[in-house]
Symmetry: C2
Subunit: 626 residues, 2 copies
């Protein structure tokens, strides 16, 4: 039987030494790869209580056992580190080409340890890791960096090799900086690029000829299983909608449900929703559709704004979350402006969700100042720091100019770069920042889509729609339709199961857009063919996900922060003033869902019980909860 | 008799050691201070042929013997170093408060030598020089830097002490970066901030209690002489116009003469000239008038754009040259946009003349690309580097957004930061850059004001209106009015005399706006009272200026570059298509003026003759020309 092993390159930036490490079959079976393996290694290796910017933090850039195989959207990689935004475990994943190319280059993952004194970039080619001087790249945008590295290595064709890079945001340790690859793809959330920046790593180039399909246990069977999944995927109406209108097909859908957070979450509908929708994009700036490595959906947009003040060259995006955070949340209703700000945010290397949300927070703070609701000294300081920036609701120019200020921490940008929570705290109005555990929330109001109350509150990385995406059943009817405004405890079970299933998916690492059309049962046969684990079952798959979810939670428990599962005050106390969910708060759903959820998880007050850990084979971490 | 000595702090950034040096009375009498002393020391100490960014370059920040005395606009300082823009001696001076406060702090000048490995800022307080860590200031804008330093030293009142700083432009070694002080004042030209940046010096704080008036030879007599000069100054109509409308009173004047370079010097008049004039500024955004240390003219503008896309908070400027380079030269006719771009350029630390001129150059290159007049590969690269920027004539948004890109060398900004000459050369169209000796030219077309042909060509620092300002006789009628379109060899003598007189003025260091109302004879009595040099004469004053002018020229001769006195091809070959100077080029004037000028100077082909150096007491530099 083939042993499924993962090969990591441990790169110590302090000593500039590289060490190879094999992750054995047993560990792979327990944590798979990507998000799961990263959580496990981080919990074992990152000392409790460290500053996320200290050299003791580590960055795990991991693929998994089927990444880069010719099947089922398997082109992703995951990044894990202690997050400077939340202070707990941060993780994010990204598509594009980097994950596969990292494997082709000879490694299934890279661990960045220590810190370099001067900027470096890392090349990984056919198993050889080199650390190179990057002083000429430091300060450069993501696009320019990719171009310069490709020139340096002599591979200009975009379909060959892949560059992962941080932008100025990451260099300048913005807590909302995104890890970028292939220019437009982002492992966006939790500010992990800032950790890479703190290690003075500018980029990674991956290229090579390893044949990962040859490492599949039974290739023919694997391809047969993969084709089944692909067929399901291609036939699913959501896949078709994603092809047609991209992720921003959601703008009108969520707006109609009254759950499109508008004006920094003070409303649930946006009058200009259609103007910034996927349908509108398809009519205007859309030039082509594009997919990540080996993808059949092609949900990525290739857009161009041909002229005018928001001219944007042919480039990828904008995605739904980007449009929402920079659009409805800030009241900017101009799709050209959103296309441009997306382009700049990619180049500077920002998490577009956190950035837009932070600007929306700033706009509310500015409004408070003008209404005399900020202490006089704070208002004075705000105006001074703003200088020529006027962050009024809907001001697209302010939205765009703040990108530069945030990237280079110029005046008010120095605070925007810190994210919404720290910005609002600085001005003495913490409740204006809409976040969970320090991370800005994405584009679904849990007052209108009540299952999201639980999904957000219990997310291990803070405000997130990708630990569980209960929008799928509350709005999209997958696996079945619920009333998004009605409290229904079946949603709790589904949310918990989704969290576990997604943990597995993120560890493989494959695309979550598979999960509309496939369930855990579909992956069992694929996994058997890939690994030879013939006794693999749906139960094991979900238990593996649960193990991963608990491992992440243990990181927070050990840190003594980030395991309290709640929502921002505004969502609990301020009823939505508009739309179909008018009058609703997220208080009742959260209060009803949470106890049931803890029961299902075997947790008390957000902490796993010792028996839960034993059941999941996490005995080595019992010390954290005992 | 009092010995006039100047006390310098030599700061070796490499060893972090400080050494005091006295410049003796004899040397002061030969080179005065400021520009003259700087040229002399630079020629002696900076090795020939070095890279301006190497630690062997030195930066001289010098005042002079009457700076900070209660008289005659004596609030300036001068910066001298080998210029990264021109490759020859670069020098620039600035008003505001820094010059006086440097003297009050106990030193008449500072020399920055070597290079620090990490960012530092320097505090000079009552004779004590300290080198402090500036890692928290690196990357910050000029305004923020001043604020943070004032907080750190605990002196927030703006009239106490002074901060000299570089912005991100200087840090990132932009060849058009300006040394800034008191937030809005710039020793702008020749990219000297980039040299300071290469030494990793972010800022200098000067504060102290030295009484410089006590060092004046005869205080009463000095005050009596100073008052005479001030009276003349205050009564002069140009002083009054400068108070009323600021330096941008010139916009309409120069436009009327057809000498306002428009659309990158392809035209001599701008249809929106009035919209961007000092008169218009006074009607719109002007909030107050302001002067430098001890100044009675108050030519500085305090402006505010209260709202709209070009909102600008209360801040200083814009000046005439800034308005011209960013306005007529780029065809931007919106004073609000110009006020904003000026504000941003100050904060990022750019030379506003060179920046606007470089953007105008980029606009012409972009036009050539669109017309298919650029090689295909170059056009493709241009579009790629531009990304979302569309530098069409008159596009104010592009003008503004390029500030950030240039400051942080993002894509096209990486080339804009290099200045017009290198930008145009990069795209294979060197003649599109309008410069002399690598430095972008200021706002007077020598085809319409022909004496400026000589003034520009023979300037020792490249394209400059401040070595001789023959606009004063060709346009303003000081000392007498000439026909600006007529070749008249008397202008040659006046230009040469002005160059010498200005060299003296820049060495004192006082404001050139004195020179409209006063001549060398007025300064002789003041100098006697200040120094006790009772045998000082007009002849000695002008010979001193001539000595300085020749010393600067020797730097270029020794470098083997920058002593060929000519003008851009466009000005020599393309007749002006519009305005009163329609049909004129600068070819005839330059060809007629230059031989006469060399005769007066005792130069051949731009090089001083040995006898000239002997006559001026520059024997120690004979080796350069022999």
């Amino acid at each position: 039987m083939l042993l499924v092993e993962l090969r990591l390159a441990r790169i110590d930036l302090s000593s500039q030494k590289v060490r190879e490490e094999k992750i054995d079959d047993k560990t792979v079976r327990k944590f798979i790869g990507g998000r799961g393996l990263g959580a496990y290694l981080a919990l074992k290796e990152i000392p409790a209580g460290i500053d996320p910017f200290s050299p003791e933090n580590k960055v795990y850039i991991l693929t998994g056992p089927i990444v880069g195989t010719a099947a089922i959207e398997s082109g992703r990689y995951h990044v894990i580190a202690k997050s400077p935004l939340t202070g707990i475990l941060g993780d994010a994943n990204s598509g594009g080409q980097f994950g596969p190319w990292l494997r082709f280059a000879g490694y299934d993952g890279v661990v960045l340890e220590g810190a370099s004194e001067t900027p470096v970039w890392i090349s990984i080619v056919d198993g050889e890791v080199k650390i190179n001087d990057a002083s000429h790249l430091w300060g450069k945008g993501v696009f320019h960096t990719e171009k310069l590295i490709r020139e340096e290595v002599g591979v200009e064709k975009e379909s060959l090799g892949s560059v992962l890079a941080i932008g100025p945001a990451g260099e300048n340790k913005s807590r909302i900086a995104a890890v970028m690859n292939d220019r437009y793809r982002a492992a966006g959330r939790a500010g992990l690029a800032a950790v890479i920046g703190s290690k003075k790593v500018k980029a990674i180039w991956a290229f090579g000829n390893r044949k990962v399909m040859d490492e599949i246990y039974d290739k023919d069977r694997y391809m047969k299983e993969a084709k089944k999944l692909i067929k399901k995927l291609m036939e699913h109406p959501i896949s078709k909608a994603l092809y047609e209108y991209g992720t921003s097909v959601l703008v009108n859908v969520i707006n109609t449900h009254g759950g499109l957070p508008t004006k920094n979450w003070t409303r649930g509908t946006f009058e200009k929703a259609f103007d910034v929708s996927g349908e509108k994009l398809a009519e205007t700036y859309l030039k082509a559709r594009k997919g990540c490595w080996g993808c059949v959906i092609q949900c990525s947009r290739v857009s161009e704004v041909p002229g005018g003040p928001f001219k944007t060259p042919l480039s990828e995006g904008p995605e739904y979350e980007t449009i929402w955070a920079n659009g409805p949340d800030t009241m900017v209703g101009d799709l050209a402006a959103l296309t441009k700000v997306n382009y700049l945010l990619n180049d500077m290397g920002f998490d577009t969700i956190s950035y837009g949300s932070t600007v929306a927070t700033l706009m509310e703070i500015y409004e408070l100042a003008k209404q005399g609701k900020l202490p006089e000294d704070k208002a004075k300081e705000l105006y001074e720091l703003l200088g020529d920036i006027e962050p009024e609701w809907g001001n697209a120019h302010a939205l765009i100019e703040l990108v530069w200020r945030a990237a280079y921490r110029n005046r008010i940008g120095d605070l925007v770069a810190e994210g919404a929570k720290r910005l609002a705290e600085y001005f003495g109005v913490p409740d204006v920042a809409i976040h969970v555990k320090g991370m800005e929330m994405p584009a679904y109001d849990p007052r209108a889509i009540n299952s999201m109350a639980l999904a957000y509150a219990t997310s291990n990385r803070g405000g997130c729609h990708l630990r569980a995406y209960s929008v799928s059943f509350d709005v999209l009817g997958v696996p079945k339709k619920f009333d998004p405004l009605k409290v229904d405890l079946e949603k709790v079970r589904l949310t918990k199961e989704q969290q576990d299933y997604f943990s597995f998916i993120d560890s493989l690492v494959v695309c979550k857009f598979n999960t509309f059309s496939t369930g855990p049962e579909d992956y069992v046969e694929l996994m058997k063919a890939a690994t030879g684990w013939e006794d693999f079952t749906v139960e094991e798959l979900l238990t593996t996900g649960e193990r991963i979810y608990n491992t992440e939670r243990l990181f927070a428990v050990r840190e003594g922060t980030g395991y309290k599962d709640t929502l921002p005050k505004r969502l609990l106390e301020e009823p939505l003033p508009d739309g179909p969910a008018k009058g609703k708060t997220a208080k009742e759903p959260l209060e009803k869902y949470l106890p049931e959820y803890y029961k299902l998880r075997g947790w008390v007050d957000g902490k796993p019980l010792p028996d839960t850990l034993r059941r999941l084979g996490l005995d080595e971490f019992l010390y954290i909860v005992q």
